[in-house]
Amino acid sequence: DTAVSQTPKYLVTQMGNDKSIKCEQNLGHDTMYWYKQDSKKFLKIMFSYNNKELIINETVPNRFSPKSPDKAHLNLHINSLELGDSAVYFCASSQGTSGNTGELFFGEGSRLTVL
């Protein structure tokens, strides 16, 4: 049983297109995240939702829009894709946001390539 699943795993698209990545977790967690990992492996948080409410919104272009229809899902929509958006996008979830319960469970990532 996959705990945090993302689709698609690979995405190749042209500059200027709009694309979405979907994420679902079956761990019963109340908090979900999107992280971006660039070509140098640097991991940076983009967004976090707690009980469907946006709680972290890092400095990300507004072409990126997250949507959480319920606690178990967090989707990422990207408009007008640019070359610099090429990266691996990781979805993650956690139960709670503090204390020792803050362990993040990551999905396997969605590799986005913009041509």
Binding site: K41, L43, I45, I55, F90, L104, G109
Partner: protein, 113 residues
Amino acid sequence: QQQVKQSPQSLIVQKGGISIINCAYENTAFDYFPWYQQFPGKGPALLIAIRPDVSEKKEGRFTISFNKSAKQFSLHIMDSQPGDSATYFCAARVQAGANNLFFGTGTRLTVIP
């Protein structure tokens, strides 16, 4: 601005040797310091974590050493095995925050048989 500085960028160790990865931070509001392990094509997974009121935590072959006054912490992997070959990330979290983890830049560990 890099909140957590990690070194080395890459590390090659013989099987059975000790792997040591170091991290440093400036923000004294950090209250939780986990290490994540990432294999190629996979997402990072929690390996071991420590809170600043403890100077050392050991789980099997993995030990975190924490120096609060120096604002440094390190991961030691004893008896390193080829299966430990992965990228390791240290991270830090702001106290009572929204679980915003700041990750180090990663260390690619290769254990040679």
